[in-house]
Structures are given as C-alpha cells and as structure tokens.
Amino acid sequence: MTQVEEREATEPADAPRAKETSSGRSRRVVVAALTLLLLLLPLARPWIGQPFNYVMQMGIVVLMWIAMSSSWNLIGGFTGYISLGHNVFYGIGGYASGLMLVYLGWSPFLTAPLSGLIAVAFGFLVGLITLRTRGPSFIISTLALLLMTGLIFDNWDLVGGSNGLSLPLPPFPVETVKIPFYYAMLVIAMGSVYLGYRVAHSKFGLALRAIAQDETKAEVAGIDTRRMKIAAFSLSAFFVGAAGAIWGYSLSYLRPTVFFIIGIAAQMVLMVIIGGRGTVAGPAVGAILLVALNEISVSQFGSSELNIVITGLILLVVLLFFPLGVVGTLRERGHLPAFLDWD
C-alpha cells in the first residue's frame, strides 16, 4: 500500500489523521530542536574557534539553497512546470537590493523583502505571457528569459554592465561579519519551507497538484488553471529574490555571472529532483545533499568542469532510477522518518 494512494483517499491533505499523532508530535519535537540549534549556532563561536567563519559561510550557503529549492518546488514540483530560468529572480533580487544600497543607502537586510516583492511582480508579468500555454513552451520561455535577462544586465550601464557593481562593505567587524547574513538566510530559508508547507496543505496546493496530474481535467473540474499557475510562479519568486539580495550583499560585488548563469538553475532543479519533487521536505534534503557533494567534489577534483559533469550524471541517474527522489522513494518503501514527512 503506498502512501500516495492513502493520501489521495484522505484528501484534503490537512484532514486529521488519527494514527499519525504520535509521529506528528515527534516531528514537532525534532523540528523545534533543529530550529533552536540553528538559532543558537552563532553563539557557539568561542567553542568553534578558527573555522567559525567557514561554518557560518556553509550555513549561509546551505540555507540559501534550501530557500531556492523550496521556492522552485512550488512551480516545478507541485505544479509540474519546470523553470530553467528561476535564477532570474535571484539576480533581480540581488540587483534590486544592491541598487537601493548604492543609490539610496538602504541596507539589503531591510530591503530584501522589498526585493522579493519586486521579483514577485516581475514573475507575475512574465507569467502572464508564458503561462498562457501549457507544455514545453513554458520551459523554453524560462530558458530564453534567463539568457535575455543576462544579456540585458551584461549591457546595462546603470548596473555596471558585465563589469559589475561594487557595494559598500557591511558595517560589521570581520570576526562576526557572517552572523547577520546567517540569520537573514535562516529567516528566508525557514520562510520558504514554511510557505511550501502551507501551500502543500491548502486548497491552492491541491489545485496545483491537480494541474500537475492532468491540466485538462483540472480545468474541467472548475480550477482556473491559468490563475493558479501564475500565482504559483510569482509566489515562487519571492524568497529566491530575497535570497539573491542577501547573497549579493554578502559578496559586496554584483556581477551578472554571479546570478544569471544556467548552472544555478541547474542546481535548483537538481536539488528538488534529488530530494523529491512536490514534497515539502525534499527540496531541503536535496539542497543539503548537493551542497555537501559540491563541497567534496570541489575539494577532490578542484575543477568546475568536472563538477558540471557530476551534476549532470547525478541528475541522469536520479531521473532514470529514483524519479521520486530521496523523500519520495523512502516514503514509497515505508522508510521515511517522521520528521521528514510533512506532506
């Protein structure tokens, strides 16, 4: 008996499931403990010592990718519309906050939500055009969007063109400079995972899943599929834009190649597919696994070329042999630990 069928039978998904209360409680405990641990991590600086900045940096990177993959999952996972250009929102967020910092002196820590909203507005406008159709045209349009945006930013003087834009350094002492970035990313990551959770357990999420399964039937069932798709697409831009804002500030230097390269989109796609498309915990699991793997592969091989090959190979193997990803596969086999079962 697969979990999937069971879930379908008890839809809507937020219906109470009596036999799962104990696992639900253990899940809550694990999550609370994990949150506390992440919140307190910077306080461990005296004990961590020298590698503290490295630990913080890894934390920032992992949290950023969790935010990115969880957001991508809204459109690519739940709705089944693959976006190969989602890092456009990342770049727009990064540049929006960067420009506000350079020209207005506003700190990206304050403007990150605003940049997220700018990304949402942009996503909405793009979605109005590209989500009129179903099927492969959307995917193609996202790829075109990415190359187009990259081209514009490469040649736009206001943002420094391909030379980039230098940002004022953050006003913090070197030893603890990473801490505010860490907390900002933590908020963004938790926000995006929580958003994924809320969507998964809402009527909206149900509509998105219906679209993924069979868009024609969803339409016949009275779902305004176009509105739902546009909503999912623009919503999925918010935390990606905010993450771009914080990430750009942490680099203190914005260049189109930091944001608008397909490799970033590839990572987002891969993380979600490894973790499990359309699951709440999957994207986070995929992000953690892939950041770890990248870290190992860079230290082992050192070359970014081989890293691309490895990314592609993993994608290929997962697609062919574990299309449900870690979370999906474990659930199908009945081995999914309760603290990962959020659906």
Partner: protein
C-alpha cells in the same frame, strides 16, 4: 536602401544555417515529443570535431561533414536507444525528456570544457574572409557555401520525408502516433531513426558553424535558447515553421545587429518568442491540439 538589402542578404544566408539546426530539433519534437535541450551541445561537439579535423589532417570544414553527419547520426541512435525507451509511457514524457536532455547537456558541456578548455575556437578555411561581389552587394564566400550546403541538406531531408517509405512513416508518426501504429508503423524504429537524423543535422550544423561563429563549450546555451525560441515561433514540431521562422528571424536579427550592435541580435529571438506566446501561443504553423 542598398545597405538594408545587404543586411537582408546576410541574414538570409545565416537563416539557412539556423533552419538546418532548428529542423533537427523540431523533427525530434514532432516525431517523439522530445524537447532536446542537448541539441546545442551536440552542435558545439561537432564544431570541435570539425576543428580538430581542420587542425590535424587539415580537412576543410565542408569535408568534415563526411565525418560529422554519420558520426552524430550514430551517436543519436545510441543515445536514443539507451535513454528514451526507458521513459516511454511515462505520464509526463515530454517533461522527462527536458530533464534528461538537460542532464545530457550538462554532462557533455562539462566533458567538452574539461578536454578542450573554455577557449574560443574557430576553424580558418582559406576562403573565410573572401567575398563574392555582385553589383553593389557583397556575399561572403563562407556564408554563401554554408547556406548552399544547408539548402542541399534540407532538400535531402524533404526528399526523404516525402519520397521514401520510411519518410512517410516519419511524417505519419508526426501527425498521429496512434494512427501510425495501427497502420503498421514500428514507431520505436521510426523514432530512433528520426532522432538519429535530427542529430545528424546537428552534426552537419556543427561543421558549418565552426567557421561562421567562434565557439566554446558553454556557448551551447545561447544556441539552444535561440533554436528553441525559433521552433516555438514556427510551431513546435512543424518543419515548415522551423524553416520560415529561421529565415525571418535571422533577417530581423541581422537588422537588429546592424542598428543596435551585434550584442543585441540574440534579443531578436527571445523577443519574438515572448511576442508569439502573447499573440499566438501555438506558433505560426502549429496546431493548438499538438502542443497540449
């Protein structure tokens, strides 16, 4: 006016090569509903084949067609047989093909970059900078030869599709897969052949591109984005649409390049894509039902 005609001539010459690249891609979608994101990387791979045949034995890029066409046909057959039958019957087949070919594109790009580095390359046949003068107009020799070759290859494709038994089977499968099956077409075999042909066209394009545009591994993303935009414009799976779209957009891109600078010429393709999605999502020669 003379200047504009000159720009149009150059655009049409390049359009022929674009048509060659795009027709392989749209053939794959038309017959198998495969969106081949790896088409661009295979074109670049063929560029390297032509490049090393030129550097080593000193073969002219046009002679290298004798290698690239059959080689990439074979690669196509192998890639198809190894991957696609596994996902046949997958409920979201086209989406799976996008992801699978995305993976292939990454693997191939990384491998090319690893072996051949990220340096710009180009083949330098002796006629590369020559031009034929007709009245006030000049026709670059290399572009001219490339366009002629593209036309010959496209005519060959057309003859294959309209005058051979397998060609009929390919067209039948494009128009209605079930119908093809029930009249006795072995669609698996036809699909394998069609994928091989699409890849052979990619191989041929690589030979031609090798002296027309400088290339390096990561360049394939720009190509594939342009080509995909082009076949959406023409109507996914429509060969006629791919050819017409290629010619029209190449001319427009030439005009944009002339007016705003070459940097902006790819914008023509992307702009046209968004415009067509806005006014006619199924493309110029597409059918609404087919895209669904």
């Amino acid at each position: 006016m003379t200047h504009l005609v000159q720009v149009v001539i150059l655009g049409l010459l390049l359009g022929g090569v674009y048509a060659l690249m795009a027709s392989g891609l749209t053939l794959m979608f038309g017959v198998m509903r495969i969106v081949n994101l790896a088409h661009g990387v295979f074109i670049i791979a063929a560029c390297y084949v032509a490049f090393y045949l030129f550097q080593g034995p000193g073969w002219d890029p046009f002679v290298s067609l004798l290698v690239t066409v059959p080689l990439f046909f074979l690669i196509g057959i192998v890639v198809y047989a190894a991957l696609f039958p596994r996902i046949e019957g997958s409920p979201r087949f086209t989406e799976m093909t996008v992801l699978l070919t995305f993976a292939i594109a990454l693997i191939a790009e990384g491998a090319l970059a690893y072996f051949f580095t990220g340096t710009f390359r180009t083949t330098d046949p002796p006629y590369k900078t020559d031009a034929i003068l007709i009245g006030d107009f000049f026709i670059p020799t290399a572009q001219f030869y490339a366009a002629i070759t593209s036309i010959v290859l496209l005519l060959g494709l057309w003859a294959f599709l309209y005058f051979t038994r397998t060609g009929y089977a390919v067209r039948a499968t494009m128009q209605n897969r079930t119908a093809a099956q029930i009249v006795g077409v072995n669609v698996r075999r036809v699909s394998t052949i069609a994928f091989g042909i699409g890849m052979a066209l990619a191989g041929a394009s690589g030979s031609l591109i090798s002296f027309l545009f400088p290339f390096f591994p990561a360049r394939h993303w720009q190509w594939i984005a342009i080509l995909l935009a082009l076949i959406v414009l023409g109507g996914l799976g429509s060969l006629k649409g791919a050819v017409v779209g290629a010619l029209v957009l190449a001319v427009l891109a030439g005009i944009v390049s002339d007016q705003l600078g070459p940097t902006w010429s790819p914008m023509t393709f992307f702009g046209a894509l968004f415009l067509i999605l806005l006014i006619r999502p199924q493309g110029l020669f597409g059918h609404q039902a087919r895209v669904g």
